[in-house]
């Protein structure tokens, strides 16, 4: 099969693998968390201070217990998702402190925005997961902010969860709050009800928060997304091969730790590495370099038998304009085509992760929907080959009057919710409104159509009480 996207043959794959093992073995990884270092020591890893060194055999042995696919349970069992193998999920944008509105004005995000984003996710035709802290609101008390965002996800949606930014405290509150929702700690931890993004600090370092959170969540049986964001030229070598190796080494080191803590705990590897724009030293997430790194990462993840995170509705633009569309489509489409399994940040992001746009949220959703549709296999059967119809209509006729056309006209093709397909005259007479305007209206319609999913009022009360207790602690 012809694949032009950085297709790695055996020799190149093995070269990358051995480079990765050399980094892990020779340079080592710094774990600034004593408990992590103790775990490595107890398992016979070479340790010097907080530096941990890995033998290839130790890595490969640990990876043996990591599943290649797994399920994350949702409050609504029909919405539980499978990640890995042939299965992939889209999870929304995450962590953007600012909202850019339809006029292009920027403001700090609020809890009302966070709630509205939950409502968009719950009504989404294409998203598979909810994520807490899609926007970290400025109007919340830092002490309870993360718990409040989690509570919003649990109560406003019934979807599987991408949880808080990873720190030990957040990890503990995720498990405690999930235990309230699922009825008991046992019920919440028997198999994952959430996945969290653990970020190594490139190059080659795990902060106490990242390593501590990882340990806590691995113990609590939650899925872990252990992926790096190396910025080539800044926190990684400017050459992409080196940056790919760094990313992989960091990701594998964390996955090994997770497997030592709880063999079999689901882990997703990969990253969201990119080039730095060295005119400004900023992360350039709309770049083709991200796509190249993605293509390498998805293939190396397959080599290690792990599900892979990459891609997203990623752009460096500050408005849902053509640039945003170009970059986001490039990222979403090629990542899904290449076999990424978990797409964090799939919609809404602007400004290299710093801004969230409601309009772009629904536009990216539509890109996701289009790509999902484009890659879903064409059904080849007697009915769909339609040879009878072809023969009946013959040379030069039309299929418009075929009964099958009427029967399938609503379902056979992807129906865009926001993109426009009408005539020039229609567009012109509508005030030449661009797709952002249509998106703005669609957001309003969606929020109006939102229905809160059922939840036992007792659970909701307990979640509230949990937050109050946190505030008073």
């Amino acid at each position: 099969m012809l694949n032009r996207l950085q297709s790695l043959d055996r020799a190149r794959t093995e070269r990358l693998h051995s480079a990765c093992m050399e980094v892990l073995n020779k340079t080592g990884i710094l774990f600034n968390e004593p408990e992590a270092v103790e775990i490595f020591k107890a398992n016979g890893f070479r340790v010097d201070g907080n530096k941990v060194y890995f033998e290839e055999e130790q890595v490969m042995n640990a990876l043996k217990t990591a599943p290649s696919e797994f399920t994350i349970r949702a409050r609504n069992p029909e919405k539980s998702v499978r990640i890995g193998g042939d299965h992939f999920v889209l999870s929304p944008g995450w962590g953007a402190p600012f909202i850019v509105d339809a006029a292009g004005d920027s403001r700090a995000a609020t809890m009302a925005d966070a709630d509205n984003l939950c409502k968009l996710v719950q009504t989404s035709p294409h998203l598979d997961m909810i994520a807490s802290a899609m926007v970290p609101p400025k109007d919340l008390n830092a002490k309870t902010a993360m718990a409040e965002l989690l509570a919003a996800c649990f109560t406003l949606t019934d979807m599987p969860l991408t949880t808080n930014p990873c720190s030990r405290e957040n990890a503990i509150e995720t498990i405690e709050m999930a235990s309230i929702v699922w009825g008991s700690r046992e019920a919440a931890t028997a198999s994952p009800v959430s996945i969290v993004s653990v970020n190594p600090t490139s190059p080659l370092t795990y902060s106490p928060e990242a390593a501590g959170g990882l340990i806590e969540l691995a113990r609590g049986g939650q899925a872990l997304l252990i992926s790096s964001m190396v910025m080539a030229g800044l926190s990684g070598p400017i050459t992409l091969a080196g940056t790919a190796v760094l990313e992989m080494a960091e990701s594998l080191a964390g996955i090994v730790l997770a497997q030592l803590v709880n063999p079999g705990v689901p882990c997703v590897c990969g990253g969201t590495s990119c080039s730095a724009d060295l005119r400004f030293c900023s992360a350039s997430i709309g770049s083709p370099e991200l796509v190249k790194l993605m293509a390498i990462s998805t293939q190396m993840s397959r080599f290690y038998g792990l599900p892979c995170r990459y891609g997203g509705g990623l752009t460096d633009a500050h408005f849902p304009d053509m640039q945003a569309g170009m970059e986001s489509t490039l990222n979403i489409a090629l990542s899904l085509v290449s076999g990424a399994h978990y797409m964090h940040q799939a919609c809404g992001i602007l400004g290299s992760y710093t801004e969230m746009s409601f309009e772009k949220f629904v536009l990216d959703e539509e890109i996701g929907g289009m790509v999902k549709r484009a890659i879903s296999p064409v059904e080849i059967s007697d009915e769909t080959l339609a040879l009878d119809a072809i023969d009946r209509v013959g040379c030069g006729g039309s299929f418009l009057m075929e009964p099958m056309t009427a029967k399938r006209c609503r379902s056979e093709f992807f129906m865009p919710k926001v993109s426009m397909r009408e005539t020039y005259e229609k567009w012109n007479s509508n005030g030449r409104a661009d797709v952002t305007k249509a998106a703005e209206k669609h957001v309003q319609d969606r929020l109006a159509a939102y229905v809160k999913p059922d939840m036992d009022p007792g659970i909701e009360k307990d979640l509230k009480a949990y937050i109050v207790a946190k505030a008073n602690a």
Binding site: A108, R279, C281, T354
Partner: protein, 220 residues
């Protein structure tokens, strides 16, 4: 010597060795050290600064130039008067408590240093008390705070408050920055300035101290 064209060209390429040779030659030809510094190096570095701002020069190239300049200044230092070699100002710089992002902060440090400031690097996850201590110990002119998380922005406010309470607020200008920070927030917490990137951070530091940073250099 009045023509520093070659010196400018060499500085732009970031070739430290060649720059040092040129500086030594100029000294041998009897040009005064402070003239080489002001009309040669500093004027050329201003061109570098302008080219960075216009996007003609990339930041790694600017840093190479700054490094080359630093080497050349070392040669001149023993020949400069006390006044000529005063630092542009002392900056205590760090990422606030709870926050571990440091790439942007480190870049701010590099830019401040290449603009002639002495930077006291506090690292990440720094408590307000530690900042106060560092300002006092170093007699700093500027405190520069970085935060990239919404949840650590209140720690910036807390740091400003702690500085007020310790009675040293008047002695120090406070600069803030990082992705979620903006001018409105800087005003809210009573900081003296906000800059969106490292280049404007060092410019702002200079205007705040109302000194030409290139008009003076580091002593230690």
């Amino acid at each position: 010597m009045s023509d520093y064209k070659e010196l400018l060209e060499v500085l732009l390429t970031g070739d430290g060795e060649k720059l040092e040779t040129l500086v030594k030659e100029a000294l041998e030809n009897g040009v005064a050290a402070n003239e080489i510094l002001n009309q040669g190096l500093i004027a050329s570095m201003d061109v570098v600064g302008a080219r960075m701002e216009s996007g003609e020069m990339f930041i790694p190239e600017v840093l190479m130039s700054a490094q080359a300049m630093g080497g050349a200044v070392e040669i001149l230092k023993p020949l400069l008067s006390e006044e000529d070699s005063a630092v542009a100002g002392k900056v205590v710089l760090g990422t606030v408590k709870g926050d571990l992002h440091d790439i942007g902060k480190n870049l701010v440090a590099m830019m401040l240093e290449s603009a002639g400031f002495e930077v006291i690097e506090m690292g990440v996850d720094v408590t307000p008390e530690k900042f106060v201590e560092a300002i006092k110990d170093n007699d700093a002119d500027i405190l520069a705070l970085s935060a990239l998380l919404t949840t650590t922005m209140p720690m910036m406010a807390q740091t400003v408050k702690t500085i007020e309470e310790s009675g040293i607020r008047d002695t120090v200008k406070i600069l803030v920055g990082g992705a979620p920070v903006n001018q409105t927030f800087a005003d809210e917490i009573g900081a003296d300035g906000y800059a969106p990137d490292a280049g404007s951070a060092s410019k702002l530091a200079k205007t705040l101290l109302k000194k030409s940073a290139y008009g003076s250099i580091q002593t230690n």
